[in-house]
């Protein structure tokens, strides 16, 4: 499923960014100084060069600014994000957009473990694949993955929506609460208390809205190929009959 092409993405950026973009080169500047600037922004648009897999890039931003990371990011990129729009023009390490509150985070490559973990709001888009534990304990975030997600994804997912355009690994949605999961490809063994559910019109509408927000194709043909998963609500309260299920 194609994401926005590079040209389309650049065009969108040019249209939305102001003339004044501040460039921070991590070959010479520290992440600490970058984040200090982003936490009290003097501009509305930032470009980060030579990220080189550094940790915590653009973590804790709480203003509506654009941050474009030109390369691969390390752990916790855009963690706790509020309002900002962060694009990683490469792959991201563990915990990208963890505990995000609002705004958008787009990873143009792959994401490592625990992408969007505990996120409360906003939209995380991974154009490539996400590794294990994607959306673990998500609490309201929307996550759209263009490729596949690894094992144990959406573990204890409480609220929010996750869309996987590829496959999902074993243990999907283990001990899930009320998050809604849409997977287009194959799913390994479902986690405890996670079941497939009927895909009704309102779900197709929700899915189309999420794919559109992420910039992915969302025609009828694509929508028909997705299946919906959610909680069987059997593990909300511990009972002794379930002790073998854990």
């Amino acid at each position: 499923m194609a994401a926005l092409s590079r040209a389309e993405a650049e065009a969108r950026e040019t249209a939305t960014s102001t003339a004044h973009t501040v460039t921070v080169d991590l070959a010479t500047a520290t992440v600490r100084s970058l984040n200090a600037e982003l936490h009290r922004p003097t501009a509305t648009s930032y470009e980060v060069l030579h990220p080189h897999g550094a940790h915590s890039i653009a973590a804790g931003v709480h203003d509506e600014i654009d941050v474009h990371v030109r390369g691969h990011a390390g752990y916790f990129c855009a963690g706790m994000n509020q309002l900002a729009h962060v694009v990683v023009d490469g792959s991201a390490g563990n915990g990208v957009a963890e505990n995000m509150m609002s705004g958008t985070v787009r990873v143009r490559g792959d994401a490592s473990q625990s992408a969007g973990a505990t996120g409360r709001g906003g939209l995380l888009v991974v154009e490539g694949s996400a590794s294990m534990r994607c959306g673990i304990s998500m609490k309201g975030i929307d996550i759209v993955v263009g490729g596949s997600v690894g094992p144990m994804s959406a573990f204890m997912a409480q609220a929010g929506r996750m869309v996987v355009c590829g496959d999902a690994g074993d243990g999907l949605g283990d001990s899930i609460y009320e998050a809604r999961l849409y997977v287009r490809g194959s799913v390994g063994a479902l986690g405890a208390d996670c079941v497939e559910k009927e895909m009704r019109d309102e779900h197709r509408a929700e899915l189309a809205e999420l794919l559109a927000a992420a910039g992915f194709e969302h025609g009828d043909q694509q929508l028909r190929e997705f299946r919906r998963y959610g909680s069987a609500r059997g593990l909300y309260h511990f009972t002794s009959e379930h002790s073998g299920t854990y």
């Binding site: 080189h52 897999g53 550094a54 691969h72 390390g74 752990y75 792959s91 390490g93 563990n94 792959d110 490592s112 473990q113 590794s131 294990m132 690894g150 094992p151």
Partner: protein
């Protein structure tokens, strides 16, 4: 925490710069293990001359080379090179003979590596400083690894530093902790295996060495390790011709593998791989839980 890097070179044109590549990689995992660092290098003909055995030793007395030479049949020339806490002895004899002579000459010394193609260095201190002590940047060869340690299971000293090299030309480095290592250690001790430390990772290395000695290949040995050990682990295991990576079934401990026509590399974090030549064309992936990945020379 702990950090691991490993590099298996496919292109001989890169052999002369193995040390520079490893040194650059090490910088990417230094923060993960600032208390000790150990390295292992395969195929450095300066440090392990062809036709020679090499033995890496901790607590070596100053006159060890002369004493060992006197104990070996024909009294061959024994060369000793000290680098921090580690002394490397080389001699044109069989590996077993050199190890036995070192143990006889210095009962208080500890052999931490042996082989015909392998040299191991261990020490406590910051990775940046120890890389200089070991002369890492000048290393040549076809394969190497390093481990930066943040100690959890045993003391911070050169003995507790990885890699654990307990069979000729074998190395194991570990990020994580084994929870049933005492049980497995007792079982191996009943079968006659001796241990050098209280370290949980040494038990893993002894277990793998025992499997390989029984005829298992690297993949089988590491699958058996997964059946026997409880705990968290990312392991990098190397042999005279192999390079293997495995993570436990829960896979909490990080690992990134990059595969390129000229090399295979693994590291705890991507940033340790970022400077490798051709990284932008490499296939970069995280190893699946419980799956053994192996490469042969």
């Amino acid at each position: 925490m702990c950090g691991i890097i490993g590099l298996h070179l496919r292109d001989p044109a890169l052999h002369p710069v193995l040390g520079r590549l490893l040194d650059d990689m090490l910088g990417g995992v230094a923060e993960r293990g600032p208390d000790s660092v150990g390295i292992a290098v395969y195929g450095d003909e300066e440090r392990t001359p062809p036709g020679h055995a090499a033995v890496s030793v901790l607590r070596a007395p100053g006159d060890l080379a002369a004493t060992v030479g006197g104990l070996l049949p024909g009294a061959p020339a024994v060369c000793a090179q000290a680098a921090g806490d580690t002394t490397v002895l080389t001699a044109p004899v069989a590996v077993d003979a050199l190890v036995a002579a070192v143990s006889a000459a210095a009962p208080d010394a500890l052999v931490v590596g042996s082989g015909t193609d392998l040299v191991v260095y261990k020490g406590a201190g910051h990775p940046r400083d120890l890389a200089r002590t070991y002369g890492l940047r000048d290393v040549t060869g076809w394969q190497g690894l390093a481990h930066t340690r943040m100690a959890t299971e045993s003391a911070i000293n050169p003995e507790g530093c990885h890699p654990y090299s307990v069979g000729a030309d074998q190395c194991l480095v570990h990020n994580g902790s084994f929870s049933n290592h005492a049980t497995v250690r007792r079982e191996l001790q009943r079968r006659g295996t001796a241990f050098d430390s209280e370290n949980d990772s040494e038990v893993g290395a002894r277990f793998v060495a025992a499997c390989l000695a029984e005829g298992d290949d690297l993949e089988k040995a590491l699958l058996r390790l997964g059946e026997t050990f409880d705990g968290f682990y990312t392991l990098l295991v190397t042999t005279a011709d192999g390079f293997a990576v495995v993570r436990d079934e829960i896979a909490c401990k990080p690992a990134v593998i990059a595969e390129h026509p000229r090399w295979v590399a693994m590291a705890s974090e991507f940033r340790a791989l970022a400077d490798l030549p051709g990284i932008d064309e490499a296939r970069i992936f995280e190893p699946d839980p419980g799956r053994v990945y192996t490469w042969q020379r």
